[in-house]
């Protein structure tokens, strides 16, 4: 599933960062920030309607990602903590 679809409070493991066909600066930057295979992530906050950015914790760092950005991140093993 996509990181975008992870509900608030849920955690998962990063599977991969999808790349757009051309040189994808955003995907590169996401990897620089630590979104690489095997890293655990958790969604801490999201906008009311889901259209705003989401707040993701990776390691001990918090990043705000817009949908277009979090759509690039494929996650697995989602656990919903409720």
């Amino acid at each position: 599933m996509l990181l975008t679809d992870l509900p608030k409070g849920a955690s998962a493991i990063v599977d991969r960062v999808e790349q757009t066909p051309k040189t994808d600066m955003v995907a590169n930057r996401l990897r620089d920030l630590g979104f690489v295979e095997g890293e655990p992530v958790r969604v801490v906050a999201r906008g009311r309607t889901g259209a705003g950015p989401i707040l993701v914790v990776i390691g001990s760092t918090r990043f705000a990602l817009r949908r277009a950005e979090s759509d690039r991140i494929v996650v697995r093993d989602a656990v919903n903590h409720g």
């Binding site: 930057r29 906008g47 390691g59 950005e69």
Partner: protein
Amino acid sequence: MAEIDLRIALVGNPNCGKTALFNLLTGGRQKVANYAGVTVERKEGRFTTPAGRLVRVLDLPGAYSFDAASPDEQITRKVLAGEHPGEKLPDLIVFVADATNLRLHLRLLLEVRRLGRPMVVALNMMDAARARGIDIDVARLQARLGVPVLETIAIQRGGAQALVNSLEGKLPAAPAVATAAATASPEAADLHAEVRAIIGATVRIPDNVAAADDRIDRWALHPVIGPAILATVMFLVFQAVYALGLPLTDLIVGAVEYLGGVVGDSMADGPLKGLIVDGIFAGLGTVLGFLPQILVLFLFILILELSGYLPRAAFLLDRVMVAVGLTGRAFIPLLSSFACAIPSIIGTRSIPDRRDRLVTILVAPLMTCSARLPVYAVLIGAFIPTQQVLGIFNLQGIVLFALYVAGIAGAAAVAYTIKRMQRDRREHPLLMELPSYRIPKLRDLAYGLWQRGWIFLRRLTGVILALTVLMWFISAFPGPPPGATGADIEYSIAGHIGRFLAPIFAPLGFNWQISLSLIPAFAARETAVAALATVYSVADEGDALGTALATNFSLATALALMVWFVFAPQCMSTLAVMRRETGSWRVVAASFVYMFVLAYVAAFVTYRVALLWM
């Protein structure tokens, strides 16, 4: 000046506490400037070690990686590699890593180590790491990295002792660059694997290290409560700006006027006295008068910034801002724009995306700056009755509020139009790190406030002084002919320009006196009030001017004039800063023209509609 014994460069990720460490090391001895040709801040300071070694410290811009996505990162990489012209290769790299955020920061650390330059690691915020139960085996980390690792606590007096001591002796040898790493392309995955191995061997992190942040963010970023908190914070900030700033402004303006009077009394009448009293002292009063409000606003922005709240505000507002063609990050500079557009335009440096930054610069002057308030105050006082609306609201207050809203709505409309017109369909990402909440330290607040206030004063004093003197000159010369009956200014160069401009502004209901007052308003808006007072030969304070205005022009004209000031082309100092920050005269021209057209059309419509109604 003593010779520099050692050049060190502080490098690290954004939010690693680098600036706090820099402040701790160098104290007040800092120089802030720009790197040539770019608007990336260059911060340098110096200090002397106990043994007498003079150390020059360069605080390099924060970076996440050397793939050089942002101008900041390019500068940092070039300086460290010795490729930046005009910047000497540092003798020692001090890599500042946040102990609570080691996983992220190790990645850049490994990239820096690959440069093969002498370096030490300052493991910063060790106190916070311990408090969160993060256990770092420093000796082992040092062994794995092959460079000295020193603990620092940048927010504590003496917190950099270990680092300073290490600068006394011989510098550490450059780390051996593993041949494999040097030849193989630095794949992101490799680095991450290395980071993971090092973290696994040296650091024990409890399950949730940021429970406190989670608790605060649960409220601060809540879809409903979050915006309510933000609105309350903003309301309090503006209250403080007016409650603390305005009395101080009155005090300063009064003091400068008094001084001008004292100096003036000791001089013979004549052009020199005019220049000094009406030109230089009036200009000085204008510049210094803004300072209290701007400093109070800066202080609050700094508190919000250092505490980690501002990125949260950007997070909350991102959706709305994107909808109108801006970015959540633009919130911070646009907030300062309510005091003055100049610090706001400088503040857009925090927006990494070029397009987003440019749009923010273009709309920033539409936020009602404090210079417009005196104009509004006089016009509202003269033309809008103090009438209760719906029992609790005052009509005058409502009009003032409407003028603020008109500015914000105008900014949204302009940003949206630019977005629509853009052919650039590239993605402009947010990707923003939200740092941990912290209680701001007094020292960092003081240095931050000092630096921003100083930049503002330095930029402005020259420009405003020069313009005020110029304005004084064209209003005073040539003097009135013998037997003249009107005010002196009518016969001056400014008077002629006013008459020349009058036909252009006549469709808006402006007479030649108003047209004339728009000229000084271009230097600094609030001077429009003084200019009108001069033309109508009344004192520019109290009710005298209001009465003079009310008898000389109609309500429709007054409304049109207020609307004109909402959108009118920004003052010259703003244009000068725009030119500096964008390096482009085209941006300056574009912003001047669009604002002129917008103001003209809006004032025209207001005037015509108001005429129909009356």
